[in-house]
Homo-oligomer: 349 residues x 3
């Protein structure tokens, strides 16, 4: 971190209002709990703001009405977005290959390279691959025949993309991820599994980001689709023929089995498993470590194994915690019942 | 998809009986719900077949007795296998490296290459590696010393296979997978973990397929074994000394801990976790997201965390759903009990 | 396995006491159940030792007081450590690149290479990377600008390490693992996700081992930290800003979400998920397939989804198994209650 910003400059960057000393120097950004001199911190709510008086930061980015006199501040509508703006300014340059083709890259016949694209060392582009303008392909990436990649993409090192895939603009794919491997499909033929050929492909729309060491399998006879703006974390499995909508958020270790569809704005927290051939509606939210075994309607918040609506889950979950006591109650009731029955029998006899 | 098949040719390919126009042209294959003109679809049961009348496909592959008059059809015993046959014909050529050794591949002393094998760009074959006939090794693959790979295998890009492993014939290993890394074994030595050397290896038998970004660890002092015909999906972890039988089917994100044994024809659905040092019998089936904590006998269907037999799981699962109501019942019983007891006491007093 | 050790030599290696024939030849090591002639086996407790009489091994390494007359033996305090010593002697050489720089490696300006370091084929070291003495960088590894790696490390093939990371001494990172990719962080900006720049890094301390196909994300504005001596298995996800203490043990498929802290000596079994922004205390142990949703105090043993203390988990788990019977009891109580109430009403009427 060699760059330095003054607080005055930060007010300009985030389009905020300066409260305090414009000359304060900011070298980095840090959360409230660990910020020290030279750091800019941020506070998005009253709870955060209450802790500012103990904070050692040099300045704070706060929402309107949250500033206190303790620290020099910049007030802005969305401190979370403002911090991202500041981080962008502080960020050292990314280690992209320079524009042009590294002499160790292998470029087959029919490849087209957009203006200002950057093809790193030891990249392999097979025949008829197309790379868009300003796209960066890092070292060791393998892109198979006829795959097309749009503009302003970043394909990080050692990613493998199989043949005939379509990747949009401003897509980032992190290291060691595999796009377009065969789906996991077999017919059982009396004594053994017989592979189903996968002639389909993968389509990744604009503004998608896919983490490291993830897998998106190609379709059996059509496309596996990742919709525009969707963000996928590390170590995620997307099965063949899956169709994911726009602006979904899919955390690490999620697995989505074949031919399932997700709507738009779906959030799957870490380690969620989703059954094959089902439909998850728009704006559905699924808690971590859940397993979805059937269709989920628009807007539902679900959790559990198998996943159920939040209210139902918590009713059953709380009930389960009261179960040991309930079993004692039952034992007690049986005893008292016997006593009463005995007393009644005596009376009536 | 540039290939075109006539329906008459498809009847020959699948060994089926033509019902309708032999000249119908088929360009691709699609499931009932999305098939359109130029597509061949398929129907394997009465439920499927009932939806054929609304289907826009140009023709259908159906089981005997399921054809209706609506679409030109080919009747065959196993439409699912027939579709695979057709997909094989329609499949564009795979992007394999050409036969021979790419000039950028590094081939150490003592390596033997079978006839018609294909060694792609930037492959590293360390000393004494043996590659069988017609086997294809894709770009960026690293195979360490003394490993042997059989005939007709496909090792996709950027796979890493460590030293002294044995891989059979017709094995496919998808991109970015790691075979033969050290097992996760340490002795705790008072204040720290001390690594246990792993001098064992991995043996992968004929006709195994392993997905992308998966890991098969080497044995501690013997072999980790993947039995003949077993199919493994993406992002799967197979621990050291694990022994998997024949024709098993292991879905994405499954993890099998060290020294566990699986019989033949075992099915583990996605995200199943299996404890170390246990035995899973033949033909066992495990539902997605289950965790197996002990031995499972032949033929069992198990699920849950920890996994239990299906009937037991569902009995407890249904009971759990009735628990909130049961707690109300108990509260009510206690109230009524008190009332009765009070009444009885009054009488007897 | 071409090396042969005599039992006498083994007694020297492990610092143990010979009981039997010093000339017995040992070719390999095997557990009790599968050991045969030429093998050394081991027994760490009475249960193990009881099975020695049926064992076909040529000799046994046993704890004091456990030897029986059946097999030639070496007695030592910790047979588990002794076996590791023997495995180290039997281990064939690892397939490391030779000392020096492979002619196909790409070494940018400002890179420093320690004495006796070994840089394998097709490695890419970007500008200002520093590699310590005797460290081995295997084929296909990509290390981005300004990253520093200590002494005696092993970076296995196709690992990717992003810019500005700090890696200590005696660290091993297995194939296809990704260190320092961007954390999964976005701000939702009305209609879409906006990427949060990740200007932080990763710090991996001395004696850490990280398995194959795992991911350690870089911090947002500070470091993601893996503490000294911690061991991480395959396919593990460590989120941005996570801080893991010393000598932790983290099994396959574990995922730890952003900004969470682990103390020292924490054990996470396979497939454990850990929520973001929480604190796991020292010496905490978590059972396989658990999901930790809140802070855990020092020394706790927890399990379940969500994880709870062991005693609480088992009380609820056992209660759940008794629930179907309890529901029958309730039905029965209700019936009997009605009967009693009817009888009482008759009396009082």
């Amino acid at each position: 971190m060699d760059k330095i910003l003054t607080l005055g400059r930060i007010a300009e960057i985030v389009g905020g209002e300066l409260r305090g000393d414009a000359a304060v120097e900011i070298r980095s950004v840090a959360p409230l709990a660990s910020a020290g001199p030279g750091d800019l911190t941020w506070a998005v709510d009253r709870q955060h703001a209450a802790r500012l008086s103990e904070c050692q930061a040099s300045a704070v980015l706060v929402g309107s009405g949250l500033e206190n006199g303790h620290l020099s501040a910049v007030v802005c509508a969305r401190p979370d977005l403002g911090i991202s703006d500041v981080l962008e300014y502080l960020m050292p340059p990314l280690p992209h290959p320079p524009v042009g083709v590294d002499p160790t890259a292998l470029i087959a016949d029919g490849v087209t390279l957009g203006e200002e694209s950057a093809i790193g060392p030891r990249v392999l582009l097979q025949r008829d691959v197309a790379i868009g303008r300003r796209t960066k392909i890092h070292a060791g990436v393998v892109i198979a025949a006829e795959t097309q990649i749009g503009e302003d993409c970043i394909i990080w090192p050692n990613v493998v993309i199989r043949e005939r895939c379509r990747i949009g603009n401003r897509v980032a794919i992190h290291p060691n991820t595999t796009i377009g491997a065969d789906g996991f499909g077999y017919n059982f033929d009396e004594t053994h599994f017989r592979k189903i050929p996968h002639i389909g492909t993968v389509r990744i729309e604009d503004d998608v980001e896919i983490g490291a060491n993830s897998c998106v399998d190609r379709g059996k006879c059509s496309e596996t689709v990742i919709g525009r703006g969707t963000k996928i974390d590390n170590l995620v499995q997307i099965g063949h023929n899956v169709r994911i909508g726009e602006n979904c958020c899919i955390a690490a270790h999620v697995g989505i089995a074949g031919s399932t569809e997700l709507g738009d704005l779906v959030t799957l927290a870490g380690k969620v498993g989703v059954k094959d051939n089902i439909r998850i509606g728009n704006r559905v939210q699924v808690a971590a470590c859940s397993c979805i075994a059937g269709d989920v309607e628009d807007g539902q918040i679900v959790l559990g194994i198998p996943a159920k609506p939040k209210s139902e889950f918590f009713r059953e979950h709380l009930a389960a915690r009261r179960l040991p006591k309930a079993l004692d109650d039952i034992r007690d009731l049986i005893k008292r019942m016997k006593r009463l029955e005995a007393a009644n029998n005596q009376e009536t006899s």
